[in-house]
């Protein structure tokens, strides 16, 4: 009952409508360049919103979250090339593999707190890259390439690009809804309690190992799914591409920029960061140091507006909270 009541939040539907409208814009104008730009933003929305469940709700900093994106991509492309699976079950399998990895890792490293957990997550990403690099079924260092004919099942490459874009838009909307449902649930309240004070949460009866593991699993699932989508669109996958540590850090910047722990924060953070990155990459002065700018940005946010853009707005204008989920 209360779940249905919660879904009546006006802010949620307002922003879902805005994301849908922005997402449909390239479809209306039929411009491929806009579509590619927005595809990147929507991918970032999924990655950042997923990370937010762990980072923003539960308070655990994962520096290696991109491992779930890469692993999902590998599993999906492997199933498509080796067993002729269609994209849809492959996407699901990619998500499940990543979620399963998170479940196993969770048992081991979610006992660690603070900086120790963060360090362990970096280790996982690097270990996974080294492992895949030497794992022959996944092509070792050369990775997996798709045969161009694979797109024929989806109406040819040109049509497939539009279709993949549509799926990405749907996944981004789904992720926003998922973030909202998790946050307004009892499970989500337990996560917020863990973020604020894990010891106090335990004393109040929150079963912290279970809650943290499920948060980790949930935050790994959709990155795995979009990993398959992204590398399917890309046509090939290689270890250095799949497990880029700096993408993990960019995900963190997006969440912090927009406002950790809010629904809208990672969405605006992803859009804002990708816009900035686009501007930097096309400027002569900054194109080689755009990651440095990301680092400085993260530092400035943490020092001056730790709540992020949406968090700052919510604190500054409490009356607008309904519209800033």
């Amino acid at each position: 009952m209360s779940m249905l009541k919660n879904l009546r939040n006006p802010g949620l539907w307002l922003w879902m409508a805005i994301v849908l409208a922005v997402g449909l814009w390239p479809v209306i104008t039929q411009r491929a360049s806009t579509r590619e730009e927005i595809f990147t933003v929507l991918l970032s929305v999924v990655l950042a919103s997923s990370l937010n469940i762990l980072l923003g709700y539960t308070g655990y900093v994962s520096f290696g979250h991109i491992v779930f994106f890469g692993l999902g991509g590998y599993v999906g492309l492997f199933l498509i090339t080796a067993y002729g699976w269609s994209l849809w079950p492959a996407m699901l399998a990619g998500g499940i593999s990543s979620a399963f990895l998170a479940l196993l890792l969770g048992q081991a490293i979610l006992r660690l707190r603070g900086a120790y957990f963060a360090l362990a997550t970096i280790g996982i990403n690097e270990a996974m890259r080294a492992f895949i690099n030497n794992f022959e079924p996944f092509g070792g260092p050369t990775g997996i390439s798709l045969n161009f004919s694979v797109y024929n099942d989806y109406g040819g490459a040109a049509n497939a690009l539009w279709m993949l874009y549509g799926v990405m838009l749907a996944l981004a909307l789904l992720n926003i809804l998922l973030s909202y449902v998790v946050k307004s649930s009892k499970f989500g309240l337990g996560l917020l309690a863990i973020r604020e004070d894990e010891d106090a949460a335990e004393v109040m009866g929150v079963v912290t190992p279970r809650a943290k593991t499920w948060a980790y699993v949930l935050s790994a699932f959709l990155p795995g799914v979009v990993g398959v989508l992204f590398f399917f669109k890309n046509g090939n996958i290689e270890p250095p591409q799949a497990f880029r540590l700096h993408m993990s850090i960019e995900m963190l910047v997006m969440v912090m920029l927009g406002g950790y722990g809010t629904i809208l924060g990672p969405v605006l953070g992803a859009a804002g960061y990708q816009r900035l990155r686009g501007l930097l990459l096309t400027s002569d002065l900054f194109k080689n140091i755009q990651l440095t700018v990301a680092g400085v940005l993260l530092l400035v946010i943490i020092l001056f507006i730790p709540a992020g853009f949406v968090g700052w707005l919510r604190n500054r204008f409490p009356k607008l909270r309904r519209f800033l989920p």
């Binding site: 009952m1 209360s2 649930s185 009892k186 309240l189 337990g190 917020l192 309690a193 973020r195 604020e196 004070d197 010891d199 106090a200 949460a201 335990e202 004393v203 109040m204 009866g205 929150v206 079963v207 912290t208 722990g261």
Partner: protein, 251 residues
């Protein structure tokens, strides 16, 4: 007996924090736990509610052995506590803090019902007007009441109160003492650690005195206050010993 603590010992490195602590608490009663600083009072609480497993001894709660169980398992069996150093969930509202207590406590309520319980408990401890404020913005007295509200929202059988009166002004102490009395009327058993002697003596049915991790006296407030060993343990403060023996606990 709602709680039986049998021969519990706990050592931290070179410090024997507790040695051979035993006591029983009958249902519906209030036990005061007193002793000089560092006597092991909070450690006793931590052993009872599972923060640390004891080195030796057992803790039996409502007939089941909870020695070494996890804090959240014990919480769900109906044992709630407050903290001496308050632990508010700062970025959540007062109401959300209390809902956490109700949701994950003994009754394991769904959100909707937990909200009703939270509203009721906030009124009971006098935080009703602060419900939508962030917990981090409360003052010390209010944070102590928030600790109390979160623990009560769990609908516990046994409540461990760790210095809920410390740092409060006299009118706040009166108010909090009234709350403790009302909680007892609801049939909830209580163990309270307290330094405010008048309060602990007037509220408790029994008092256990710890000194250097050992129980040195156990009995009614009058018996304990007249026990020479207790007076000796507090001798660093002779005035306090005097105050203890002159106080009439019958009120």
């Amino acid at each position: 007996m709602i709680l039986q603590v049998n021969n519990v010992s706990k050592r931290f490195g070179g410090l024997q924090a507790l040695s051979g602590v035993s006591f029983e608490l009958p249902e519906g009663q209030i036990m005061g736990l007193i002793g000089p600083n560092g006597a092991g009072k909070t450690t006793t609480f931590n052993v009872i509610n599972g923060v640390y497993p004891p080195d030796t001894g057992t803790v039996v709660f409502k007939g089941s052995d909870i020695t070494g169980a996890k804090t959240y398992e014990i919480a769900r069996q109906g044992l709630a506590r407050t903290h001496q150093i308050v632990k508010p969930l700062n970025e959540l509202t007062v109401r959300e803090n209390v809902i956490v207590g109700a949701c994950f406590g003994r009754q394991n309520l769904p959100l909707g019902q937990a909200t009703d319980v939270a509203n009721e408990v906030m009124e009971f401890v006098g935080l009703g007007k602060r419900a939508d404020q962030l917990a981090g913005s409360l003052n010390v007295g209010q944070k102590k009441r928030l600790e109390m509200a979160r623990a009560l929202a769990a609908r516990p059988y046994l409540l461990l109160l760790d210095e809920v009166l410390a740092g409060l002004n006299p009118s706040e102490i009166t108010r909090m003492t009234e709350i403790v009395h009302k909680i007892r009327e609801q049939g909830i058993s209580i163990i309270m650690i307290e330094h405010v002697m008048q309060a602990v003596m007037s509220v408790s049915d029994f008092v256990l005195v710890l000194d250097f991790g050992k129980p040195i006296a156990y009995g009614t407030p009058t018996e304990v206050a007249n026990d020479p060993k207790v007076i000796e343990a507090y001798l660093g403060d002779p005035k306090l010993a005097e105050q203890l023996s002159s106080h009439d606990p019958v009120s």
